[in-house]
Amino acid sequence: MTQLHPVNELRVAIVDDHAMFRTGVRAEIADAVDVIGEAEDVDSAVKVIEDLAPDVVLLDVHMPGGGGIEVIRRVHPRHADTKFLALSVSDAAEDVIGVIRAGARGYVTKNISGTELVDAITRVAAGDAVFSPRLAGFVLDAFAGTIEVAQVDEDLDRLTEREREVMRLIARGYAYKEVAKELFISIKTVETHVSSVLRKLQLSSRHELTRWANDRRLI
């Protein structure tokens, strides 16, 4: 779908309501990518994205105007080529899953190192998904107990055995490369599995998925 950009030409926008954090991230990644814009709330983020059409948007989950989800909802339909990477200090499962379901292609926490962040940006820009161990854990939790084949009506609503294996290895701290080696498959295949899990997470209307989010909230 998208052609692979050389890393140093990736155009990135940083959206976060904390100026100090934006400055910090910009300093960390400026050598590797081209930071073309910043925004501090939903409205300014939408404007930056529509004006500059960045390749990747680093998106805070919580921010004035409705949060990262709102930004994706307003921009995503018209700018399908812009990829979103959620970057957050909030570990609240429902927000993380929410932003992924809105259309973000990955989630990393704010204490991620500069090189890891650049790596994640590159991966997202190439159309792949970025799953941290924590996100993989959430996904396994959300799709837990869905293995009974008898009551499955749609393929979207469950993970295949292979996808589950990949998720478990990522949750165990394996990098994609290591997952590939462990399962005797290519890195490309690992990426395919992860993207497919992302798609299921975004498209499944499985009621257990909403109920899961709901249960976590009500506990």
Binding site: H62, P64, V89, D91, L140, A171, R172, T210, R217
Partner: protein, 412 residues
């Protein structure tokens, strides 16, 4: 755990009152099935509609109780709460239209409710629904900021008007009756109307008092936790100022403080009680603090602790300590999972590694306190290590439900 599960109406996923969504959650069936059931039941003398109204009254509205950070973020508009998917709304509207169509057809065939009764009942129902919905929102107003004065008044007025129209209709239908009967019916109708309108008010008043008491206790608890946290942040900052040169110490302090704040603000992580997930997380924190190395713990599922699971967690602790001490890395990954039948923990580092064949000689800890401990409890331990590439310890124990499990020594 014997507490019975109560059906709740989810405030954030309701079309009319959330009865269908709540029942669907409670029964574990798709929400559309519940809606179909209500519509079909309504064809039979409106039984579905009556059941719906009754459930509306008796199922409490679930106002989500969020972690403080999320609650505050919601209040300040930093996050979007889930909206109902358009598909679901359209689906429900279609369902309602089909339901109404069949209902009208049944009326036309003369097998439905008697005509003179039907119209006022329908109008009355809509009026009641409008008023009740208002009350739901009014009690939600505190967290949804929906205190729109004029709209509120107009909608209540509209609701009352509809109910009144229905009542008047009923009365004027019975023109042929004697004056006394007219009076009687009028008074009765007025009383019923008043009860319908005022009922929720009284209902809500009682509920509010209760809710308020709980809210007060909750906010006091929160204030205590906040005070404790602010104290500990101050302590951490003081410590950081004292040891600015000790990078490892500074990093550990910052990390510990971060985790504490994060779990308080957004915490689903701070599960209290003697559970597997909490124990694994607590153990990871202990080792992290003792050995000044970040340990990333991800836990899926949860189970109560018994002697087997305790042994598993302790063996995992040994594995974490080993990784922290010997691997020479700056991060250890821990993954724990349980499906209720077995519990597993994986401890992984990308460090020095060693030759697993030769652990007998120099690593007594590994043999005794990891492999031995897990195997005594019917589990398995698998250690994979490649010099130069890192180590992964995989531990599994079966969960014996209901059986008597011999107690291990108390937790240190």
């Amino acid at each position: 755990m014997t507490e019975y599960r109560r059906a709740l109406r989810p405030a954030d996923r309701r079309l009319v009152a959330g009865v269908s969504a709540g029942l669907a959650d409670h029964l574990g069936v798709p929400v559309v099935a519940v809606r179909v059931a209500f519509v079909v039941a309504s064809w039979f003398n409106g039984a579905g509609a009556i059941a719906y109204l009754l459930l509306w009254r008796f199922m409490p509205l679930a106002t989500p109780e969020l972690a403080p950070g999320l609650e505050s973020a919601t209040r300040r508009g930093l996050r979007t709460s889930n909206r109902l998917p358009v598909r679901e709304i359209v689906q429900a509207l279609c369902l309602a239209a089909v339901g109404l169509g069949v209902f009208v057809a049944m009326q036309a065939s003369g097998r439905g409710i008697a005509g003179p009764v039907l119209a006022p009942v329908l109008i009355g129902l809509v009026g009641i629904a409008v008023i009740w919905r208002q009350f739901d929102d009014a009690s939600l107003g505190r967290w949804m900021r929906q205190t729109s004065g004029l709209a509120f008044a107009t909608r209540i007025a509209a609701g009352i008007l509809l109910v009144a129209v229905a009542v008047v209709y009923v009365i004027t239908q019975d023109r042929g009756w004697s004056a006394i009967a007219d009076m009687g019916v009028a008074v009765l109708a007025a009383l019923v109307g008043a009860a319908l309108i005022l009922g929720p008010w009284l209902f809500k008043l009682v509920g509010d008092l209760d809710e308020e008491r709980r809210e007060r206790v909750r906010s006091q608890e929160r204030a205590d936790v906040a005070a404790h946290l602010h104290d500990s942040v101050l302590q951490t900052l003081a410590l950081l100022q004292k040891n600015p040169g000790d990078a490892a110490q500074v990093a550990t302090l910052a990390r510990r403080q971060e985790r504490e704040l994060r779990s308080w603000l957004y915490g689903t992580d701070n599960t209290i009680g003697d559970r597997f997930a909490a124990a694994v997380r607590a153990t990871a924190v202990e080792v992290e603090v003792d050995h000044q190395i970040p340990i990333e713990a991800v836990v899926v599922g949860d189970a109560p602790m018994d002697a087997d699971v305790t042994a598993l967690v302790r063996a995992a602790r040994e594995a974490m300590v080993n990784a922290a001490k010997h691997a020479g890395v700056d991060r250890v990954d821990v993954y724990a999972e349980t499906d209720g039948r077995t519990a597993e923990v994986f401890v992984r580092d990308r460090g020095a590694g060693f030759d697993p064949e030769r652990i007998a000689d120099d690593r007594m800890g590994v043999k005794g306190s990891i492999i031995g401990r897990v195997e005594r409890h019917g589990g398995t331990a698998r250690i994979r290590s490649t010099p130069g590439e890192g180590t992964e310890v995989a531990l599994t124990v079966p969960i014996r439900q209901g059986e008597h499990v011999p107690e291990e020594e108390a937790r240190p």
